[in-house]
C-alpha cells in the first residue's frame, strides 16, 4: 500500500476495501440518521469514542477490527444504550497488506451485524512506515438509552451483588500468548465479543440492575475500583468465586501476573440488587456471552472506594487500581 493523500490509488482503495462493506454507501462525507427510537419521549442519545491499538493486530479469538466494534458497542451498552451507528477511522501504516485490511474490515462487518449496528461513516489515512504499527482504528458510536433506564456507577448500593459474565483475563492472556516472543502452547482465545444482547437479557430479567462496566484495560480490578470510587462504597470480592480458565490461571502463575488486572474485551461486571441477582445471573447464562456468569462479590459499607478480596486462606487483601504496570512490591 502506497503512501498518498487523496490521489486515485487511495480513493480506489477506499472504495474497494471499505465502502463496499460498510452500509449505507453514499457520496456524502456525513451520515444522516433517523431511527424511531431516538424520538421516543424520555429517550437519551449516548455517544462514545475509542481508539484501538493492538499488537498483534490479529490474535486468537479476534483482530483489531473486531475489538474496535465490540469495544465501542460495549461502551454504549454498559450505559444501558442500544447501539445504532458507528463510525470507523483507520490510520494505516504504509506497506500494510491489503489482505490484512480486508480481513479486519470483514470482521468488523460481522461484529457490527451481530450487534445490530451500522457503520455509517468512516475515514482512512495512510502514514509513513514506522508512524503507525500496521493499523490503528478509531470507532465512535451512537446509541439510544430507552426512557426510564438509568445505569450508572453512582447507583450502586451496599448489599448489591457484583456479577461477571464469564472467565477473566482471556483477552490479556491471548494477546500475551500471541506475541511472537512468547512460546505459549496454551490455546487461549480472546474473549472479544459484543455484550448488547447479554445486557438486554439481564435487564429484562432484572430491571433493577444498577450499573455495568466493561472490564477492559486494567481488568476487573480497575472496573471494580472505578465503581467503588464513583459510588462511594466498598466492594468485597471472593477469590474462590473468580471464574478463571485453568490455562489462564497457569499462565498467570508462571508469569507472576494477577488475572484481576488482565485486560478483557468481552467481560463486564454488573451490579444487581440482592433480590434480583439470581434472576440476572440466570438470564445472563442463557446468552452466548454470559454462559459462565457468576457472582464474584458484594457491595459493603466499608471505606468508600476500597476494593478487597477475601483470599483462599480467609484473609482479606486490598485490590488497588495500579498506577503503573504491575511492578514488584515485595521488599
Amino acid at each position: 500500500l502506497a503512501h498518498g493523500g487523496g490521489g486515485k490509488a487511495m480513493r480506489d482503495l477506499i472504495t474497494e476495501v471499505f465502502t463496499d462493506v460498510f452500509a449505507p454507501p453514499g457520496d456524502e462525507d456525513q451520515a444522516r440518521l433517523t431511527h424511531p427510537a431516538i424520538t421516543e419521549p424520555g429517550a437519551q442519545l449516548a455517544f462514545t469514542t475509542d481508539s484501538f491499538v493492538v499488537t498483534p493486530v490479529e490474535f486468537p479469538g479476534g483482530d483489531i477490527g473486531k475489538i474496535a466494534v465490540c469495544g465501542t458497542v460495549n461502551d454504549l451498552v454498559v450505559g444501558g444504550a442500544r447501539p445504532l451507528w458507528l463510525s470507523a477511522s483507520f490510520i494505516i501504516e504504509e506497506g500494510c497488506e491489503v489482505a490484512l485490511l480486508r480481513r479486519i474490515v470483514a470482521s468488523m462487518k460481522v461484529e457490527a451485524d451481530k450487534a445490530g449496528v451500522q457503520i455509517v461513516t468512516g475515514d482512512t489515512k495512510v502514514v509513513g512506515k514506522g508512524s503507525a504499527d500496521k493499523v490503528f482504528v478509531t470507532t465512535s458510536g451512537v446509541g439510544v438509552i430507552p426512557a426510564g433506564r438509568h445505569l450508572a456507577a453512582d447507583q450502586v448500593r451496599p448489599g448489591d451483588v457484583a456479577i461477571v459474565n464469564g472467565v477473566l483475563g482471556d483477552h490479556g492472556a491471548a494477546i500475551l500468548a500471541a506475541r511472537g516472543d512468547m512460546a505459549l502452547s496454551a490455546d487461549i482465545q480472546s474473549d472479544c465479543q459484543g455484550l448488547g444482547h447479554l445486557i438486554e437479557a439481564a435487564l429484562k430479567a432484572a430491571p433493577g440492575i444498577r450499573a455495568a462496566r466493561d472490564a477492559t484495560r486494567g481488568g476487573v480490578a480497575s472496573a471494580l475500583n472505578e465503581i467503588a470510587d464513583a459510588a462511594g462504597v466498598a466492594i468485597e470480592i471472593d477469590e474462590t468465586a473468580l471464574p478463571l480458565r485453568p490455562e489462564v490461571r497457569g499462565m498467570c502463575e508462571i508469569l507472576g501476573l494477577d488475572p484481576l488486572y488482565l485486560a478483557n474485551e468481552g467481560t463486564l461486571v454488573l451490579f444487581a440488587p440482592p433480590d434480583q441477582a439470581d434472576a440476572a445471573i440466570a438470564a445472563m447464562r442463557a446468552t452466548d456471552a454470559g454462559r459462565d456468569a457468576v457472582a464474584i462479590g458484594t457491595v459493603g459499607k466499608g471505606r468508600a472506594g476500597l476494593v478487597t478480596m477475601r483470599t483462599l486462606f480467609g484473609g482479606s487483601r486490598v485490590v488497588d487500581m495500579l498506577v503503573g504496570e504491575q511492578l514488584p512490591r515485595i521488599c
Binding site: D181, L255, L257, L327, I330, C331
Partner: protein, 749 residues
C-alpha cells in the same frame, strides 16, 4: 543558700520520675518543687547537696526513665520553700510523653508470689516501674481516665498507694489489685468454665490443647512447646507450615534449650521484654517449633499473668500471635471469639481493653551489639533524638514501605517511629495503617508540613502519602534505608558523604529498574550509585520473591549456565519464563541482594516455594557453617558492577566436587561481604566517603553483618541497632531525607 532551676529532658514522664526526685530530695535535704511540663521535668531546688542531687538525677533515675539532658541555672525563690513538693502538671499539653509498656518488675513479680501480699496471684499487678502504658492509652495526657483502666475505680488501698510519693505506686496510672482491678477468666465455647483461670489453662495446655491468651498488646495462641502433637495441630490450624514460633520461658527454662550470652540475657531481661533470637543449644525442642532454623525466638514472661502461667506450667510455651494469616493480631474479646474460635480450644481473657495493638518486638544480639528486627511492644513510642543539624526541621510525616509498614513523625528535634504495622496488602492492616496515621498525629500533636514516601507509586503507603495534600518528597528506597541508619547513629546533617552498603530485597530505582544490592555514595540529601550487583531479570515480579528457584534460573542464564538450569528444573516451563525475561514481561531487571540469597539457597538445596517471607535467606544463614575457611570463590567486579556469574560457576564446581553445602553457604556470605566491603573501602580510602553505613533487610543476617563489619576493619562503620535494617526502619530514613531537603531549600532562600 544556693538555689537552682533544673531542667530534665528525655523519657521522664509516667516512669516514676517525680516521686524519685521527691525521695532523692528528702534524702539529701533538698527543698523546693518538681513538676511535669511540655519539655519534660522541671525542678526548683535549694539545699547544700545540690551538686550530688543533680548528679543523682542522671545516675539513679528509675529503670524506665531515659534522661537525655540535665541543664540547670541559678534560681531565686521569692519565698524560701518549706519542704519538697510535687506540683500538678504545668498547663495543658504538659504531659506529652508516653512511655512504652514495660515488663513486670522484680518487686511486682515478688509480690504476686508472696502468699501474704494483697496482690498474691494477681495477674494485673504493676507499679511505676512496670506495667502497661501505650497499650492501654486512649489519649493524652497519660492519666488513668485516659486509659482502659478508667473502667476500674481504685479501691481505698490502691488509692492511698497512688497518692503516696513514698510508694512504688505513686501515680502509677494502671495501679490495681484483686479488689478493684481487672479480672482474668478462662472460657470455651460453653462460656466461662473455671474459677481459677491459670490452673484451668495449665491443665488444658498439659493435655495438648491450644489456648488463645490475651496479653498486653494482643492475643497469643499458646501451646506446650514440648508437645509435638500440639505444635503440629497449631501449625495445621493456623495454616503456618514453617514460620518459626516464638517461645516463652523463664531464664532457667531457656538455659536448657539455648545458651544465652550475658548480652542476650540482658536483652531478654530488658523492660521491653522482646523476643530474642538465640542459637539452639542443649536439649532440642521439637523441630515443629521452628523447622530448619538454627535459632529460636525466646521471651521472658512479661506480665504478672505470664509469670503465674509459667510458674504453674513449669515449662516453655509457644506464644505465637493470635491472628488469621497476614492479618493484624486480634485484640478484642469479641473479635477473639469470632476469629480465633477455630484455632483455640479455649480462651484466657480479661476485662482490661487493649487500646493499641502491639506485636512482640523481635531482637537479636550480634557481635556488634543488640539489634531490633521488629520494633513494637516495649520499644514504642520511644523516640530517637535527631542528628545535629536537624534542629530546625519542619514537622515531617513519612509513610514507609509496603510489607513491613511503619510511620515516622519528626517534631521537636526528635523522631518517633511507629510500631510495626505489617503488610499493607492485607485489608485490615491497611485500615490499621490509616488509623495509626491519625492516632500518632493526635497523640503527638503533630501538624506535618511535609510528607515523605517511597518512589514506588503502587505502595499503599505512597498512595496514602499522595492523598494527604502536603508537599510530597518521594525517596528512593535504598537512600531511605541508608538515611535511617545514618539518623539512628546520629550522623550530622553536614557530616559529609558516606558509603552506604545497602543489601536488601527490592526497591524501585530512579532508572526504573529494581535495586537491592548497592553501594550508595552520598548523604541525607542525595546519593549516587557507586557499585551494584549485576542486574538480572526478576522473572515473574513478586513471584520471584516467593519462589527462590526463579532467581537461580535468572542467575544461571546470566552466567551462561542455561544448560545446568535445564537439568535442574526439567519440570518447569523454562521456555516461557525465558521469553518473558527476554521480553521484559513482568521481569524487570533487578540488582537485589535478597534475591541473590534466594538463588544461592535454591542452588544449595532450598526446595519449592517460601511459606513465609525471608524463609530462604534465613535458611541459608542457618545452613552456614561458622568455622569458616577462606572462601574458595568470589564475584567478578568490573567498574563497580559486581557480577555473580563466576561465583555460580565455582559454586556448582565445588558442589560437584562434594563440598558441603553449609561450607559453600558460609563462603557465599563471606564473598558477598568481601565484594561490597571492598567497594566501600575504596570510597573511604580515596577520601570520597567519610564512613560506611550498613543497611537493608539482608543485614538482619547476623553472619553477613559480622563478616562485613570485620572486613571493613578500622573504618568508621554504622549499623542498625534501635531501628530495623529492613523496611521497618524505612520511614525514619524517608523523613530525614525529606527534612534534609527542606532544610537545604530554606537555607538557599
Amino acid at each position: 543558700m544556693p538555689a537552682r532551676r533544673i531542667r530534665v529532658r528525655g523519657q521522664v514522664q509516667g516512669v516514676g520520675f517525680r516521686p524519685f526526685v521527691w525521695q532523692l530530695a528528702n534524702r539529701l535535704g533538698i527543698k523546693g518543687q518538681v513538676l511535669n511540663d511540655p519539655q519534660g521535668v522541671l525542678i526548683l531546688a535549694t539545699g547544700d547537696a545540690l551538686e550530688a542531687f543533680e548528679t543523682a538525677l542522671r545516675t539513679d533515675a528509675p529503670s524506665l526513665a531515659e534522661v537525655t539532658g540535665v541543664e540547670s541555672e541559678p534560681h531565686e525563690f521569692s519565698t524560701p520553700p518549706v519542704g519538697f513538693t510535687i506540683l500538678q502538671s504545668a498547663g495543658k499539653g504538659a504531659e506529652t510523653r508516653v512511655t512504652p509498656d514495660a515488663a513486670t518488675c522484680d518487686a511486682c513479680a515478688t509480690e504476686i508470689r508472696d502468699a501474704a501480699d494483697r496482690r498474691h496471684g494477681y495477674a494485673f499487678a504493676n507499679c511505676t516501674h512496670c506495667g502497661p502504658r501505650f497499650t492501654i492509652l486512649r489519649g493524652l495526657p497519660y492519666d488513668r481516665a485516659q486509659t482502659s483502666m478508667a473502667a476500674f475505680p481504685m479501691c481505698p488501698a490502691c488509692a492511698s498507694e497512688y497518692a503516696n510519693p513514698a510508694d512504688r505506686r505513686f501515680h502509677a496510672q494502671p495501679v490495681a489489685c484483686p479488689n478493684c482491678g481487672p479480672r482474668l477468666w478462662l472460657e470455651d465455647g460453653g462460656g466461662e468454665t473455671a474459677p481459677d483461670a491459670i490452673e484451668a489453662a495449665v491443665a488444658r495446655l498439659a493435655q495438648g490443647q491450644i489456648l488463645a491468651i490475651k496479653g498486653l498488646g494482643g492475643f497469643h495462641l499458646a501451646c506446650n512447646a514440648l508437645d509435638p502433637a500440639a505444635l503440629t495441630l497449631l501449625r495445621h490450624r493456623k495454616r503456618r507450615p514453617a514460620k518459626p514460633f516464638a517461645v516463652m520461658g523463664t531464664l532457667n527454662m531457656i538455659r536448657q534449650y539455648a545458651a544465652p550470652s550475658k548480652a542476650e540475657a540482658k536483652l531478654l531481661r530488658d523492660p521491653a521484654a522482646p523476643i530474642v533470637l538465640l542459637n539452639k543449644s542443649g536439649i532440642a525442642l521439637p523441630e515443629e517449633v521452628a523447622p530448619g532454623q538454627s535459632t529460636l525466638g525466646w521471651m521472658l514472661p512479661y506480665t504478672p499473668m505470664h509469670h503465674l502461667l509459667m510458674d504453674a506450667f513449669g515449662g516453655p510455651l509457644v506464644m505465637t500471635s493470635g491472628n488469621l494469616s497476614g492479618e493484624p493480631q486480634v485484640i478484642g474479646n469479641k473479635e477473639a471469639r469470632e476469629k480465633l474460635g477455630d484455632f483455640a480450644d479455649a480462651f484466657v481473657m480479661h476485662d482490661r481493653d487493649i487500646e493499641r495493638r502491639l506485636d512482640d518486638s523481635v531482637e537479636r544480639v550480634t557481635p556488634h551489639g543488640p539489634m531490633v528486627l521488629r520494633r513494637a511492644r516495649g520499644r514504642v513510642p520511644g523516640t530517637l533524638p535527631l542528628p545535629p543539624g536537624f534542629e530546625d526541621t519542619p514537622q515531617v510525616v513519612a509513610y514507609g514501605g509496603q510489607m513491613k509498614s511503619a510511620i515516622c513523625l519528626l517534631k521537636n528535634n526528635e523522631a518517633l517511629l511507629s510500631h510495626h504495622l505489617g503488610d499493607l496488602d492485607d485489608a485490615l492492616t491497611s485500615e490499621e495503617f490509616l488509623k495509626a496515621d491519625t492516632d500518632y498525629a493526635a497523640l503527638f500533636d503533630h501538624q506535618p508540613a511535609l510528607a515523605a514516601c517511597d518512589l514506588h507509586p503502587d505502595f499503599r503507603a505512597s498512595r496514602h502519602a499522595a492523598s494527604k495534600g502536603l508537599p510530597l518528597v518521594q525517596v528512593q528506597h535504598h537512600h531511605a534505608h541508608m538515611a535511617a541508619c545514618l539518623g539512628e547513629n546520629g550522623w550530622p546533617l553536614d557530616g559529609g558523604k558516606v558509603a552506604g552498603i545497602v543489601l536488601d530485597g527490592l526497591g524501585l530505582g530512579p532508572d526504573g529498574t529494581v535495586w537491592g544490592g548497592e553501594v550508595l555514595l552520598g548523604d541525607y540529601l542525595g546519593v549516587e550509585r557507586a557499585a551494584w550487583l549485576k542486574p538480572v531479570p526478576l522473572i515473574g515480579g513478586d513471584m520471584a520473591q516467593k519462589e527462590p528457584w526463579r532467581n537461580l534460573l535468572a542467575q544461571l542464564d546470566a552466567a551462561g549456565m542455561g544448560d545446568l538450569a535445564d537439568q535442574l528444573f526439567p519440570d518447569k516451563p523454562l521456555a516461557m519464563m525465558r521469553q518473558a525475561a527476554a521480553a521484559g514481561l513482568n521481569a524487570p531487571l533487578s540488582s537485589s541482594a535478597g534475591r541473590l540469597f534466594d538463588a544461592i539457597a535454591a542452588a544449595l538445596g532450598f526446595d519449592g516455594a517460601l511459606s513465609f517471607e525471608g524463609e530462604a535467606a534465613m535458611w541459608l544463614e542457618a545452613q552456614s557453617l561458622r568455622n569458616l575457611s577462606h572462601p574458595g570463590f568470589g564475584f567478578g567486579i568490573h567498574d563497580g558492577v559486581i557480577d555473580p556469574a563466576p561465583l555460580f560457576r565455582q559454586l556448582f564446581d565445588e558442589l560437584d566436587a562434594g563440598k558441603e553445602p553449609g561450607l559453600l553457604a558460609a563462603w557465599f556470605h563471606a564473598s558477598l561481604a568481601r565484594a561490597f566491603a571492598d567497594q566501600a573501602l575504596g570510597l573511604v580510602n580515596n577520601g570520597t566517603a567519610q564512613a560506611v553505613v550498613l543497611s537493608g533487610g539482608c543485614f538482619q543476617n547476623a553472619l553477613l553483618l559480622d563478616l562485613t563489619v570485620n572486613m571493613l576493619g578500622d573504618v568508621p562503620v554504622m549499623i542498625h541497632q534501635k531501628t530495623p535494617a529492613n523496611d521497618g526502619g524505612l520511614a525514619l530514613g524517608q523523613a530525614l531525607v525529606a527534612a534534609a531537603q527542606a532544610l537545604s531549600q530554606s537555607e538557599s532562600k
